[in-house]
Every structure is written in structure tokens, then in C-alpha cells.
Amino acid sequence: MALPQRQTDIGPPHYKQFLPPVIEKNYGQWKYHERIDAGTMVHVAESGDKVYTVRVASPRLLSTDTIRDMLDVADKYCDGYIRFTSRNNVEFMTADESKVEPLKKELKDRGYTIGGIGPRITNVVHTQGWVHCHSACTDASGLVKAMMDELYEYFTEKELPAKVRLALACCVNMCGAVHCSDIAVVAVHRKVPVIDHDKIKDMCEIPTTVAACPTRAISPDPAKKSIKIKDEKCMYCGNCFTVCPPIEIHNPEHDGVAIVVGGKIGSLRTGPKFSKLAIPFFYNEPPRWPKVVAAIKNILEVYAKNARKHERLGEWVERIGWERFFKLTGIEFTYQHIDDFTFMRDTLRTSAAFKW
């Protein structure tokens, strides 16, 4: 069958053709919104028009089958419009209040999970993992699934002091939003990479490889026409592996994940914050990583119990102090927690005031 005429550099379709009519009409004229329940909110326009939004969880990794199933629902209740959020949830919108409950019922009947709105956990921003990326040293979708099974009611129902953003990255390239999340998981290596000297000759540029190392651990090894790595300088970032695949950074026996906490993105109240290391290491324990999941739940619940209303996790920790965070969560403080990299100067305590 002949293929249609290809086009180039056309960019994406203009979004206007995809906007539900009530949105097109009231574009930029919204007055306020109200949360109705954990998965439903209404936005009210200056015109008096309303749009109801029902938010549904998504595993992000979707088959076309499931997408089509969602589209059927959207056809039935939402005039054929559907939207996805910046955190990969699905949003069903309607201007017609009477459709909201039937819509929710149908979604539930079809097995969808409604929630994620308001001071709760919403979908986890995550990455490819073993599903697709050569760089992954943990799986993304699986750990996220295990995590969210455990935290499910914080999506569908239970309120927290504020929104809690979870994320996961399957290597330190951190394609997720790990570095500024309330609680996040990042996969890490712990062993110096192993060099396949034979392959290096053909596959890598030595100067580029040497330059790739942030800690200057790599130097040329002219005898071998290869490179060598100074073990004690390597902190296993894998950047050498990215530019030169024969430098194998993966080590299933010693790879695993770390938990970081306290980041945020919005400038509300205290401004964006980087996440900080909470627990430096867990072994990969597929399929359900029980220790990681339990540790996350513990942090979340200690936060939920102690924080003030509207206080993000990082704001709470900063108010009480990190020394108190470690005490309350029972997490051990290790050498790994002490910054010895870019921010060392700012993180070492230069004050005589602290808590026991």
C-alpha cells in the first residue's frame, strides 16, 4: 500500500483543535476552582461556565488497548476530548455537572483509579528502567508500581499536609525529576567500572573519555591504547560509560537505589529546593523492593504525622532540622550523607546552634 506524502518540520498540531469547547470559550478567563474530592475538581470561569475534571492514574507505560479504552470513556462523557497531565495522569473533563458522577462510576467500573488531586500523592514521575534503557541500574515501572500499591490510599483518598511529589530515576542521568522531589528514588552504582581494553580501541575516543570524568579519575593508558581509572577517585557516576560503552559500570551484585527527600519545585513560601540524600543504599530486590517501599512509607508517615498544614516535606525538615529528621525517622546517618562534592561548603554546619 502506498504511503502518504511525508511532511517535515511541521511541528505538533496546534493545540486549539484539541481544546474542549468550554475551554476554548473560557480560555484565559478562569476565575477560581474548587476541589470536590480526591479526584475531582471544578474550574469556574468569569462567564459562569464550569469545567469538571476527573483525574485518573496511569502506569504511563500504556498499551494502545488501554488508551483506546480511555478514549471510549472520553467519547461517552467528554465530547471526545481527553488530556494528560505533566505527571502522566489522565484527565477527563466535562462542562456538564450531571455527567460527572456517571463518568466516575464508569471509570471505576472499568478498573481505573481516580485521585491525585489536592494535598496527596499523585503519579510518580519516572523513567525507563530495564524496559528500555541501556543505562538503567534498576527497573523504573516495577519499583513505582510496588511503591504506589503501598501508598495507594494517599492517591485515592487520604490527605497529607501538602502535596507530596514522588519520582524515580533508573540511573544518575536522572531523566525523572528526582533532584527536586519530596521523596524520590535514584539508582546508583557502587563499584568502579570494569574496562574492556580490547573494545576501547575501536569504540572510544580516549581524550573524550578522559574529559568525561568529573573527578579526574580517568587517565590515558598509552601502553594499552586504553584508559585507566584511579579507584579511590571514582564515585561511579557512569559518565565514562555513557561516552564509551566498553567501560562497564553495571554491577548487578552491587547496584541498587538511594532515597532522596525534601526537594520541591514551586516557589511557594520557600522556593525550589534540591532533594537531599536520606538513605544511601538498598539492594535491588525485584519484583517488589520491599525494603525501599517500607522506607518510603516510613518517611511519608513521619512527615504526615509531624508537619503542619501546607508544609511540604522539605519545608518541614528545614523547620525541625535535619538532625531531627534522622532522629524521627530512625534513619542512620553515614559518611555518604556528608557532601564531599559541589556543595560541600554550604552543607557543612557552620553554626554552634543545632539540636541533639
Binding site: T8, A57, D72
Partner: protein
């Protein structure tokens, strides 16, 4: 397709209430050989705790240098269906709105050429199609592009811009995030499809400081809507919140970072001059508070992931810029930034890293923006600062 592999470990992940990606893979596997082998290889990864993908090779469609991530299994004999398993990045529409018709079309084409697996969406924002072969790329692209869909970015290129829902459904949008995102995507089509930069360059557009698209953390160029003017207060609505259980003192007054709100039990008042427009009070009392005056955006530069010297968040460069169609001023600013970066960066050096290496002055001079206190949290702490001859003669 019939079930090809036993997947006892993955089957565990079909249990529990959260929607299961394994179920998704199995659905696709029921129709696709590729998805079937993907499932098999993943089960093996779960057993051995390691991935089985090779470094990506360069594959793509004619005339484009990006938009496809080449991916090959390191066990092609064991899992021939994923010997090739490339992802295709389709540039999403602004705000991730779709008609069911359009999305159904996307699915149909994908079922024809690929594994039937997708990511809705990728972290950068693209509609990600997960798993196809090299020979399917051209026909697939012909089908999509003829229907108005184009590829997104990859490699050392302009990456697919994205934006928050903004004016489409949010009362706090100060700028037209969707249109800005669309226009920037269009203006940089060439840079998006033909990688010629030192490294990736990402643009994200948020309508206000709440930053629902994480622009300040994940975009080389973060565009964040804001305003210059007063916060209008509807005192009746304030009372509505008070009556509906809000502890205005604790939740609003005491949480304002600049302590510029006061409340006497009846009237709320804001010292607008001292407000930093952080959005806390507005977000918590949306019926009562409304920014007024001039609308525009703060332009910030530089955020990125931690490789290789630690993550960066974007830095305020232009505290306020009016943003109105056709957005030429914004385009011009971004082009100047990119030009300076392109001229000076080493390969794989992001713009934020280059600014760090060269100092903010060089960057500001290159793009013609004056120094302003809004660009810093605080001035420098050391007594070591440069002078140019022109500074010395100026005085």
C-alpha cells in the same frame, strides 16, 4: 500472539491496586511479537537484576537527526522481537490535550508499525512510542507526518518544549503558556530536528510560580509567568474561607514568606510592595485573591540533571519580560543565548554549565541583559572580582 514466556516475577506486579504496567505489556504482547519478547527480556532482567540493552545506535528518518532513540537488545538471539526496539518521540500538542479521534489514529498507526506500547508521556513531554524496528521508521513517519504529527527532539538539539495547562484551565496563568510553547516549537523546528548544538536545550513554560511543569528544575530555559501589580482582595471570599474552616492566621499570614499579609479577623490586607509573588496565599485562597496589573514572565536559565557536577536549577536572568504574540523578543533572546552557548561550549556542556564556567557577566553581556539584584539571592561573599578596562575608565 500467544503467551511466549513464563513471567512469575512480573506477574507479582499485576497484583495490588495501582494500575499495572505488566498488564499493559501483556495486552500488547497478546498482539505483538515485539511486546512479547520485551516481556520475556524484562522478566530475565528481574531475575538477574540487570538490563539487556546495548548503547543506542544512531537511527532515524531521512532529513532528521533526532526524534528516534535507537535501541538494540544485547540478547537478540534469545529475544529476537526486541533485536531492534527503538523509541519514537512524537511532539505532543501544547498542554497534552487530544481529541479521541487524533489519539485513536496515533494508536492505529502505532499498532501497525510498532509494539503497541507507549509512554503517555515521556519526561520531556513527548508522546513516546516504545519499540519499533529500523525499517519501520520511514513508513511510520510518513503516516504520522502526513496526518499533522511531527517528531520531537533528541540528541544535542532543541528538545520538545512543554508547558503547563495555563490559561486553558487555570485561573493563575499570567501568560499564554500553550501558545508560547507552540510558537517556540515552531520557531525552532530546524534546531529541533537537526542536532547541531553542543548538547540538549530544553524549554518549559509555566504560567506562574507554582510551576506545574517543573520548568525551574528541568529546562535549560524556564519561562515562568508573573505580574507587576497588586493582589486584588475579595473580602467576602476571605470570609468564605474563614467560615469554611481555614485558619487564616496560621495558613496564610504566618506562611507568607515575606510576612506582608495581615488579617484582623475580618479584613485581609497585603503589602504588595513587599510581596515576592510566591503564590502561596493565592493558591490557598483562590476565590479571594487575584493578581492584577501588568502580566509577563521571568526568564530563567540553566537547570539540568546532576551529571556531571551536580544538578542545577535555573537562574533568574530576565526578571520581567512582556510576552505577547508573535513572541519575537523571546525568540530573539533565546537565539542570542544559544548562539553564545554554541560558540563557546565544549561538546556535552549544557548552557548552565557554560555560564558557571565563564561567569554570569560574560553571558549577560553576550545577550545584552544588565545586572540586576533579582538575578541573585545575595551578592558575592569574597573580595575577588574582575574589572574590565572599561569599568575602570567609566568612573
Amino acid at each position: 500472539m500467544s503467551k511466549k514466556y513464563d513471567t512469575p516475577l512480573l506477574d507479582e506486579l499485576e497484583k495490588g491496586p495501582w494500575p499495572s504496567f505488566v498488564t499493559e505489556m501483556k495486552k500488547a504482547a497478546a498482539r505483538s511479537e515485539m511486546a512479547n519478547d520485551e516481556l520475556g527480556q524484562l522478566e530475565k532482567s528481574y531475575r538477574t537484576k540487570r538490563g539487556y540493552w546495548k548503547h543506542g545506535g544512531i537511527v532515524g528518518v531521512l532529513g532528521y537527526g533526532g526524534g528516534v532513540i535507537g535501541r538494540y537488545s544485547s540478547l537478540p538471539d534469545e529475544f529476537p522481537g526486541v533485536a531492534h526496539f527503538h523509541t519514537v518521540r512524537i511532539n505532543q500538542p501544547s498542554g497534552w490535550f487530544y481529541t479521541t479521534k487524533a489519539l485513536r489514529e496515533i494508536c492505529d498507526i502505532w499498532d501497525k508499525y510498532g509494539s503497541g506500547l507507549t509512554n503517555l508521556h515521556g519526561s520531556t513531554g513527548d508522546l513516546v512510542l516504545l519499540g519499533t524496528t529500523t525499517e519501520n521508521l520511514e513508513p511510520l513517519f510518513a503516516e504520522y507526518s502526513s496526518r499533522g504529527w511531527d517528531l520531537g527532539g533528541s540528541g544535542s538539539a532543541m528538545r520538545t518544549p512543554s508547558c503547563c495547562i495555563g490559561p486553558a484551565r487555570c485561573e493563575w496563568a499570567n501568560i499564554d503558556t500553550l501558545e508560547i510553547c507552540y510558537q517556540m516549537t515552531q520557531k525552532f523546528q530546524d534546531e529541533l530536528h537537526r542536532p547541531a548544538f553542543p548538547y540538549k536545550f530544553k524549554i518549559k513554560v509555566a504560567g506562574c510560580a507554582v510551576d506545574c511543569v517543573a520548568s525551574i528544575a528541568r529546562a535549560d530555559c524556564s519561562i515562568i509567568g508573573t505580574w507587576k501589580g497588586k493582589i486584588e482582595i475579595d473580602q467576602d471570599a476571605v470570609q468564605w474561607y474563614a467560615k469554611n474552616g481555614m485558619d487564616i492566621k496560621a495558613e496564610i499570614v504566618d506562611m507568607c514568606p515575606t510576612a506582608c499579609i495581615s488579617y484582623d479577623g475580618t479584613n485581609l490586607s497585603i503589602d504588595d510592595d513587599n510581596c515576592s509573588r510566591c503564590m502561596h496565599c493565592i493558591s490557598k485562597m483562590t476565590k479571594a485573591l487575584k493578581p492584577t496589573g501588568e502580566k509577563g514572565a521571568t526568564i530563567l536559565i540553566g537547570s539540568k540533571a546532576p551529571i556531571v557536577v551536580g544538578s542545577l536549577m535555573s537562574w533568574v536572568i530576565v526578571p520581567f519580560m512582556k510576552l505577547e504574540p508573535p513572541y519575537d523578543e523571546l525568540e530573539e533572546l533565546i537565539r542570542k543565548m544559544i548562539e553564545w552557548w554554541d560558540d563557546n561550549a565544549k561538546p556535552r556542556e549544557r548552557i548552565g554549565e557554560l555560564i558557571e564556567a565563564r561567569g554570569m557577566r560574560e553571558f549577560l553581556e553576550a545577550i545584552g541583559v544588565p545586572p540586576q539584584p533579582q538575578q541573585v539571592f545575595e551578592p558575592r561573599k569574597d573580595p575577588f572580582f574582575f574589572w574590565k578596562d572599561e569599568d575602570l575608565t567609566k568612573e
